[in-house]
Symmetry: D2
């Protein structure tokens, strides 16, 4: 961290600034020129109260040199984090992790039949929504606890671990008991209360990027979970809001590269939500693999035309088979397996 | 709602589409041209499952003609909603409602002294954060329950009702018992679980606009609270995220006009969070009044330089006095009082 | 400017960095700590090739402390710039400058009748488009040279100076001869060729902010014009692109405050283009005045329903009369006249 | 196009609306329900003056059903457009077209040596900037005419056609004579005067997407060039502005899919400008190929550390060799050659 003093600062003001910096656990290097005086922090500046510093009289500007996240930072944890799933699959290793399934659990037949198909095609986990965050209070809100129960039945039938989104801390016990990977949706990426609770569960967390969040904010949300005790965080790029309306969101594949450089956490890509249109999913999935994603989340529905939610962006099981077939050679080009 | 059929649709497909529309409680008007066939909904289309309709085979496009919100819609509730506060003040009437106070409650002295000053200057409620949503898990997270207790003491001393942000449903009883207006912060605007719980409390809700949300999404979040039973929602424009970095956010004053046309709910403006810089607050407060806001939320701190949070954007009590003095004539220009 | 060296840099690398900085005309202050080494520029760093510096080996980061614009910077020109118009009016002084007129010049009758009405209501200049930048090549492109001729006739009848947008350097002589204030539209804000040519005309330039441009980019475009020789630049805030679709653009009134702090150039506000809806214009005009704008640009059309362009956002002359009547007391509240 | 009439419209108003529609060359289908009356256009609605229609009294809303572009529209031109280059290469066919070269032409040695290397690695054209659009008037503006001359020398040495950006219509003859593909930069995407002139040259145009433009606006700019007579337009996705600051821009690969569905024009991708960092270019280039791009534009510099412009994002010739080697198998996965 670097502090630039105002052109006309007093000695007292500089000393006050130094005290705030030292209170954050760093040594301070003072560099006084004829026009500009700079205070440089030696050591990890994450503990400095940056805001307090910025509003001191005499302080012109506080500039960060290092990232505000520590536990999620690759600097302090150079090796890739690999997160193991109960069925022996893993996220973050050489093999791409593909999570697939319907937007919403709708019935036993639906979820079991989709689960079988995606397992046979090579998916390593079943995704399915039981609690749905819908923009309208009048839209289908998911099957709730019954949906979780049906996911468990599909797991029993197929051996696939299940991934599902949590909306409320009231459902913590339910998810802790029955769900294998707990998803935090984009709209809850900065629901800090929920994040803190995620730090206390024993399951990996799939943290979706917020609709308009920066990579740094996303990693800070991962940091919340990690600082609260759970280091098993899988990041998920699912498209950001831009001015483009042709696609539901804009898939930001360079974020995959950026996150993998800045952090050791694995990153998966959800082209279904990003694009919002089934015909785009296959190509964007291939592009995600080429870019270096650690995995994919793909919406698959046995009958997209009658899906209760997001049918437009769901692949049929046959289309998913085809996607997986095309994914293998592309993954191989970048040294990965499927 | 208008449905455009694809150029080559079948009779069965059209009938399927009509069935979905009729299931939503409308009559359907069919208009068949030589090239284009259109289905028009007669009546309130809010009950139609738009997504389901859109993914039917044979359907080219579904276009909404009316708004997806009902309870918040001025069409069905032409008169302005006025929300009364315990001290006789009101939000949404002729008199501008000014909520003022520090970003965070820090001590009894601080909150009581600020409360007295802002009451004397004409504020009708005291705002103060006890639970703070911070981007970093390492930043000051607020005094919590103690902060709420201090707000109550400040209320006892001044008679001002208190406004504070809730982050967790675990604190519902605390807020229901002690807080007069419960604030939902921008990052929780689409925390649908929290919104549903807000429908069940007996206090007015101050709903801040999400960082990148559209007016429609904001009103849909109000609709969530209202549909769950609480019709006393105050909307708060607090700036949206744009590419501009000079200001913390970009205050969208045309949203005030837009919301007041579309909805009967009162709208207040928070220039402190929008601009992020104390020197801008007065002018933007005047502009908000000129634009037609029903009130303002202003950060006031007895000692901004040593504030634990957001000191840069806080006014001193003296600056707040001056703002209120300048606000009166501007409000008068547009037929309002302060 | 501050340069942070990488943790493991060589002496040669640091010397190379110092040479690049010194070549930009500054003295360099070296501050070596045990972990961090910083190079600070003493003096005006605007001449340093920042990009070159940033890509030197051994350089971790280059941070700007001062603004990249000089001629437009209030630091080096503390007094407000006031731009005089031929009829004795001025932009940037105590009196608000109101430019009014139709989006497009359509006929002699139209432009002359509107000109008379807006002059009588207190406008100080007539705006009217002769060359129109339209998103579609099939839309009305303006009357061209004939439009300019009609503007001259309206000026002859009313004494109002005329403001019109230039699209092509081929029309430079035409504009230099006949137009009093030459407008650069939002889509051309970074048409650097056109900006350079604007530096060589003798008329004031009205520079609209680009659709998604930052304040700094906007001021850098002003700097282009000024560096090429024309210091008479009027900035115009006309709304920026955001995710909100209710309004055509989002009027950024805090930009008025920001620009006036950073620059000495006058700033006017165009609520008509920002909002895109006539019913919003009056209120946003009052808000702009309260925020501190130096003037307004208002679309006025004698018959908005039959306007060839932007009729939806045009006021009638009667509505403009009313706006001006309401503007006076608001302007007075902030120490301005109309 | 569909027109929804207001709840209480008059017969005259409806007839006026019908007249405007018919004047645009369509037949009008009237559909009167008890609450809603709709006018539907039969036939191509691109000729209808939509804005005029929208502001008629009695008209509630005008909704577009079809795209506003015709010449660029795949509907009316189902086959892919293939654009041939003088050296027998083509853009839009089975073989990916790779344009490579430095951001700026700096010297004969530089441009010739880079040209040889990129040709040997498989590039089909040499890109190099002679006229540079720089945000700052004080930054290097390019070698100008001398740069074009050096490009010609590099072409003479290597046989590679040259691609360069035009900024000014004053340089039209120069470009028409010496440049093989004329580039319109992102900042000039809506410089309609320049676009119209591009319609009159005999060379293919490389049209970069604007910084914040939608796909529709981009295609409308292509339509400008095509409507003015030049149908040889190559679209270039180069990243859009988002809130993310880690990358210079955000590469929108789903735009490649979208554009290829909506239009028959070829689309190439520029990962260098999008990411702004050399280490990201290879991966994003592979992703672009996987997504279905027709080609790539890659910045290659013989000595990036001393480049006068954009060195941070330039590959060395060796890195470019490696990129091409990795590109081949990925392209093969999606049925393309390099």
């Amino acid at each position: 961290m670097i502090v630039v003093m105002k052109p006309k600062f007093t000695k007292d003001q500089m000393e006050a600034a130094i005290r705030v910096m030292e209170a954050g656990g760093v040594k301070v290097m003072v560099s006084q020129g004829s026009e500009t005086t700079i205070l440089g922090a030696e050591g990890n500046a994450a503990g400095i109260d940056r805001e307090k510093l910025a509003q001191l009289p005499g302080v012109e500007r506080v500039m960060r040199v290092s990232e505000p996240y520590k536990l999620a930072n690759r600097k302090y944890h150079p090796d890739d984090t690999v997160i193991n799933l109960p069925n022996g699959a893993a996220v973050g290793g050489k093999r791409l992790a593909v999570f697939a399934g319907p937007c919403s659990v709708e019935s036993r037949d639906q979820i079991v039949s989709v689960a079988k198909r995606v397992r046979d095609a090579g998916a390593c986990a079943l995704r399915g929504g039981a609690f749905k965050p819908r923009t309208s209070p009048y839209a289908f809100q998911g099957m709730g606890t019954d949906g979780i129960r049906l996911l468990c039945e599909a797991r029993a039938e197929t051996g696939l671990p299940v991934v599902s989104e949590i909306l409320s801390t009231e459902d913590l016990d339910l998810f802790e008991e029955h769900v294998d990977v707990i998803q935090i949706g984009a709209r809850n990426m900065q629901n800090f209360d929920l994040l803190k609770h995620m730090g206390q569960v024993s399951k990996p967390i799939l943290l979706k990027r917020g609709l308009s969040s920066t990579i740094e904010e996303w990693l800070m949300s991962a940091e919340y979970i990690m600082a609260a005790g759970n280091h098993r965080v899988i990041l998920c790029e699912r498209g950001i809001r831009t001015f483009e309306t042709f696609t539901r969101n804009t898939l930001d594949l360079s974020a995959v590269l950026a996150v993998k450089r800045q952090s050791h956490l694995p990153v998966v890509v959800d082209p279904s939500h990003a694009c919002g249109q089934a015909w785009m999913v296959e190509r964007m999935a291939l592009a995600a693999a080429a870019a270096g994603a650690d995995g994919l989340i793909i919406e698959v529905h046995n009958d997209p035309e009658h899906a209760l939610c997001d049918g437009q962006q769901s692949l049929t099981p046959d289309q998913f088979d085809q996607l997986m077939a095309k994914l293998r050679p592309v993954a191989a080009c970048v040294g990965r397996e499927v």
